[in-house]
């Protein structure tokens, strides 16, 4: 591992100053569970590492019509937060399925998003929930939908001077339900071969799906929406046939890669099954 200079600034202004001063030579670090692996394997060789953990971005707060989570909130804090468990159970469940206990104690939601791995577990559920991210630079801030945040593997819209500070999650509509399912090589800790998040608004009296969002992880350079599958669900009764069709549509619209973890064919097969399973689970919970 190459040595680097480590900073732990205590406010965002100092973070921005350091980012400006060491532009192109520095890496931001939250939990470090991705960055340190990259540094050790020399895939990243920053001269300066700027730790965000003391900036004060670790919090979970209710806001009007939703929740806000600070970027350096750990995965364990999220999975064990009563507020998240009550208002956003899908996110608590997602985080509890990630990595190991010790890694969840370090790894953060902001880090998981900014690392921008195609298989990042927190991305698909946050996308289907309509989450937005707050991004700050020295001149101000912008808020964008998380869906527009990713541009490629390990690539995001973040400019070198920018820091992701918060994730805002709107409340689900009263009849909304969301799930995240992930396929792994074993039952222990593993990266998602395929991750499927679905969020439906179901009119339980008529069994009709009013609104549908499906996001898929690990099947494209970024998390992607399964738009065709969503569109065939809207306004329809959630029958077995419809659910099967949605699974097939989702499969048909993805072009995953083959790698050491899985072949593309396997990923496609799993997309179909997981979409189907996710929709069935929501139907069971809703009706």
């Amino acid at each position: 591992m190459k040595n680097f200079c480590y900073f732990a600034p205590q406010d965002l202004t100092k973070v921005h100053n350091l980012l400006t001063k060491y532009s192109g030579k520095s890496s931001l670090m939250a939990g470090g569970t991705d960055l340190m692996v990259l540094i050790k394997s020399k895939q990243a060789i920053p001269q300066y590492v700027i730790d965000l953990k003391r900036v004060g971005l670790s919090y979970i707060k209710p806001m009007e019509k939703g929740l806000v989570i600070g970027a350096t909130t750990t995965l364990h804090e999220i999975e064990s937060s009563p507020l998240i468990r009550e208002r956003c159970p899908v996110l608590a469940a997602t985080c509890s399925e990630m990595a190991s206990y010790s890694i969840r104690n370090l790894g953060t939601v902001g880090g998981n998003l900014c690392n921008a791995s195609p298989s990042a577990d927190t991305a698909p559920p946050l996308i289907v929930l309509g989450a937005k991210v707050r991004i700050c630079d020295p001149k101000g801030e912008r808020i964008i939908p998380l869906e527009d945040f990713f541009t490629g593997p390990r690539k995001t819209v973040l400019r070198p001077s920018e820091v992701l500070t918060e994730i805002e999650i709107p409340n689900l509509p009263s009849m909304g339900k969301a799930v995240y399912l992930k396929s792994k090589r074993n039952d222990g800790m593993d990266l998602a071969l395929v991750g499927v998040a679905a969020c439906l608004v179901v009119d339980s009296s008529r069994k009709v799906c009013q609104e549908a969002k499906i996001a898929l992880g690990a099947v494209a350079p970024t998390p992607v929406r399964a738009l065709t599958a969503e569109s065939i669900l809207r306004g329809k009764v959630l029958s077995d046939n419809l659910i099967e069709e949605a699974g097939i549509k989702a499969k048909e619209t993805v072009r995953p890669i083959s790698d050491v973890r899985s072949s593309a064919e396997n990923r496609m097969a799993l997309v179909e099954v997981l979409v189907r399973d996710a929709l069935r689970q929501i139907r069971t919970a809703a009706l």
């Binding site: 040595n3 090589r185 074993n186 039952d187 222990g188 396997n266 097969a269």
Partner: protein
């Protein structure tokens, strides 16, 4: 936590043997107090790194270390230009190995033969400097064609990795009876090919070494080795040093599984320390553990079985091709055991085995828990299941019908079996699995399907009769009656130190707390031991300390007889007290102190040297129950029963731990472990624990451990081996259970979820 289910019956006459005593070093280990090699730091110590080949096969045209040598903080740089050129085999143990094991390795060679092969090494004042120095060593390679597959490697046009024909390291062939006659008489012939993958040991503790070379010319090596004396003898040969000038010690060891048997980079560490005149420490990264230590041979096994209608085996034929990697190491011996254990397990009049061990440009395959047996057991126990199904015979029944019996003669090793607990393992295991009921359940469709499977296995206790072997010990009694044991037996974490203490305590009539097995093991102070491998240490080390303790005991009893005015044969020791049977007594401490500080002084010390005359094969049966999600391919082991004939459980708690660990490793072997190699480039794809999956705690089913005590007549208190057998039949038991669940036969390991799902898709397309 499950209550221990120990179905053995404890022997009423023993006080310590058969007791479930927790490992004596457990507290030190769980609190972090126990020190391992990588924890140790000597004054002035340097940090070493090894430059490793990025190519699967290349000639080193030029190597320029001058820039690295000039770096501040660099104290020594070595490469093929400045080290002795001595050929050796890293598995060498004894003079006869000169003939048996090809000496095809050098400290550094002018050729590299696999990705991860050693090219140069540096020692620096910090690890960072050492790493940077590696980047500044300029190596000019002439890239050579490479071969990854043993079938390709045997073709005449294949690149030659060493100067041997067709890259074949060794061929082993055995005939018993006449297989062709057997096949002619058979009612049915079965033929199939099975393949297994390149598993790695993945010990929690990576290989680590410290070398110190002092002003008197004494070399001290601290190593994570499974065999201190093996390291010493090889260093002596390579460095041309007398053995008394080399001291090899080992502190606590965090798992070996066969992967720490050989001489590794101790030699590089030694040369760096000699050159730098300072102690040097080298610790492997996890990536180096995968690429540059040892792996399990990947086998391709062609089987042909001839059977009668009633399931009697008439003829068996195995043709095994072993990928042994870039250097021979123990590959030839694995080729031998692959065939031998297979021939031994079942009665069959006609058998033919051909095994070929082949060089390829991949990591070196050598010893790993089971030494060829898990590979062939996956093949052959899957085959037995296929035969049983075709003949409509219960899988337990067909094994009961054909297995070797007590007193049977093994045609290859020429030994007579002195203890065989196979029927008890099969019957008790079947009972615990509720086998008969579960087999009857019809698989009626649906998404989640369950099935049960069984497999039988054997292996060895030590290496006799193919190799002569020795374990030895000194037992000395202190002036208060407590005892120190000096032995070269190495505890790898499995708990042998505790077992040896129990044996010594039993003999001397003291408690386990009164016995210290001296740790760290030290070639300067302990007598010779061949190392901890081959499931040999309870049997060999146990017998050595028993003999030593008995000699010490006779010295104590002779003195006590004088003091008590009694005959030696009327004396017994219990609870640190020597009794004249049924009457007066004297304390062990009084006798010991009297001997050490009396008028005529004498150190109470016993010596034990045990070289067995036979082998005592252990036997084991695993039963697995699985549930398969037919939509995702996700498979789970829902229940597991492991019944082991281990002769005698000296410490049932530790035995259960061994079996649990073996099943854990066996589950990984079945489902996900294996180094993946890119066929186009020869590069490894998963040298990390993200993508080389090992079994995680949540993947472990509850394991019912059944210990069957068949009382081996040649073992200490009836004991024989257990460590390796613990994972031998796991994979075929699970593969057979998967077949029972979904009707698909997997003949290739690992049986990943992806392969299951793909097979289910193909099955559906056929329907």
């Amino acid at each position: 936590m499950k209550e221990l289910d120990l179905t053995f019956e404890s022997h009423p006459i023993y006080s310590v043997i058969g007791q479930s005593i927790p490992k004596l070093d457990a507290m030190a280990k769980v609190t972090g107090q126990a020190k391992y090699t990588a924890d140790l730091k000597l004054p002035g110590m340097l940090y070493a790194k090894v430059l490793r080949s990025p190519f699967p096969h290349a000639r080193i045209v030029n190597i320029d270390t001058s820039v690295a040598e000039r770096m501040i903080g660099i104290k020594a740089v070595i490469c093929h230009k400045n080290v002795p050129r001595v050929a050796y085999n890293s598995y060498y143990r004894e003079p006869i190995d000169e003939e048996r094991l090809p000496a095809d390795e050098y400290i550094f060679d002018e050729k590299v033969r696999y990705v991860g092969d050693k090219v140069a090494a540096v020692a620096a004042t910090s690890l960072d400097i050492a790493e940077e120095a590696l980047e500044r060593i300029k190596v000019e390679y002439e890239i050579l064609p490479f071969v990854l597959d043993p079938f390709e490697a045997m073709k005449p046009e294949a690149p030659r990795i060493h100067e041997v024909e067709n890259n074949v390291v060794r061929e082993v062939e055995w005939h018993v009876g006449d297989v062709e006659e057997g096949f002619a008489d058979a009612d049915y012939i079965f033929e199939n090919r099975y393949t297994t993958q390149m598993q790695q040991h993945v010990p929690l503790e990576p290989h680590a070494y410290i070398a110190e070379y002092d002003i008197n010319g004494k070399l001290h090596i601290i190593s994570t080795t499974q065999g201190t004396f093996n390291v010493r003898v090889l260093l002596g040969k390579i460095l041309n040093m007398p053995l008394n000038k080399i001291r090899v010690t080992r502190p606590h060891i965090g798992g070996g599984f066969g992967g720490k048997n050989d001489l590794f980079d101790e030699i590089l560490c030694a040369l760096l320390a000699m050159k730098a005149k300072r102690p040097v420490r080298l610790v492997n990264t996890r990536e180096e553990e995968f690429s540059s230590t040892r792996v399990r041979h990947s086998h391709t096994i062609d089987l042909k079985y001839g059977v009668k209608k009633d399931g009697t085996l008439l003829a068996r034929e195995m043709k095994a091709i072993l990928n042994t990697g870039a250097y021979a190491a123990a590959g030839g011996k694995v080729t031998l055991t692959t065939g031998h254990r297979w021939i031994m397990l079942y009665r069959t009049p006609n058998v033919h085995y051909v095994g070929k061990c082949v060089y390829c440009n991949v990591p070196i395959a050598a010893a790993m828990r089971g030494f060829g047996t898990p590979q062939q057991t996956f093949a052959t126990e899957s085959m037995i299941d296929e035969i049983a199904e075709k003949l409509h015979i219960d899988p337990v029944e067909i094994r009961l019908k054909n297995h070797r019996r007590l007193g049977d003669f093994d045609p290859i090793s020429k030994i007579t079996l002195g203890s065989v607990g196979i029927p008890e393992c099969l019957n008790k295991g079947a009972g615990a699995m509720n086998w008969a009921e579960k087999r009857k359940v019809k698989k009626t469709g649906g998404r989640y399907l369950k099935g049960v499977g069984v497999a039988l296995g054997t292996h060895n206790t030590g290496v006799k009769p193919f190799v002569n072997e020795l374990s030895s010990a000194f037992v000395k009694v202190n002036e208060d009656g407590s005892v120190n044991v000096l032995t070269g037996v190495i505890d790898l974490g499995q708990g042998i130190d505790t077992v040896l203490a129990q044996i010594v305590a039993e003999v001397l009539g003291v408690s386990v707390e009164d016995v210290t097995v001296v740790n760290p093991g030290d070639t300067d102070t302990t007598p010779y031991d061949m190392g901890t491998h081959s499931s040999r240490q309870t049997y060999l080390g146990g017998m050595a300390v028993k003999m030593a303790a008995e000699e010490a005991k006779s010295q104590l009893l002779n003195e006590a007889a004088k003091r008590l005015e009694a005959r030696v044969e009327d004396l017994e020791i219990r609870h640190r007290e020597i009794f004249v049977k049924g009457s007066r007594s004297i304390s062990l401490a009084d006798v010991a102190v009297g001997l050490i500080h009396g008028q005529i002084t004498h150190q109470v010390m016993g010596r034990g040297s045990f070289s067995p005359v036979t082998n005592a094969p252990p036997f084991e049966v695993h039963f697995a129950e699985v549930e398969v999600d037919t939509e995702t391919g996700a498979v789970r082991v829902t229940k597991f029963v492991a019944a082991h004939d281990l002769g005698k459980a000296i410490n049932p708690l530790i035995c259960e731990g061994q079996v649990q660990g073996g099943v854990h490793m066996g589950i990984g072997y079945t489902f996900w472990e294996g180094i993946q190699i890119d066929a186009k480039t020869g590069q490894y794809l998963n040298l990390n624990l993200t993508d080389y999956k090992v079994t995680s705690p949540v993947d472990m089913p509850p394991v019912d451990v059944i210990l069957v005590e068949s009382d081996e007549p040649t073992g200490p208190y009836g004991a024989k081996g257990l460590g390796e057998p613990a994972m031998v039949p796991t994979a075929p038991a699970i593969a057979n259970a998967i077949y029972d669940a979904i009707g698909i036969r997997f003949r290739q390991l690992p049986i990943t979820r992806e392969r299951i799902l793909e097979a289910i898709r193909r099955q559906k397309m056929k329907q």
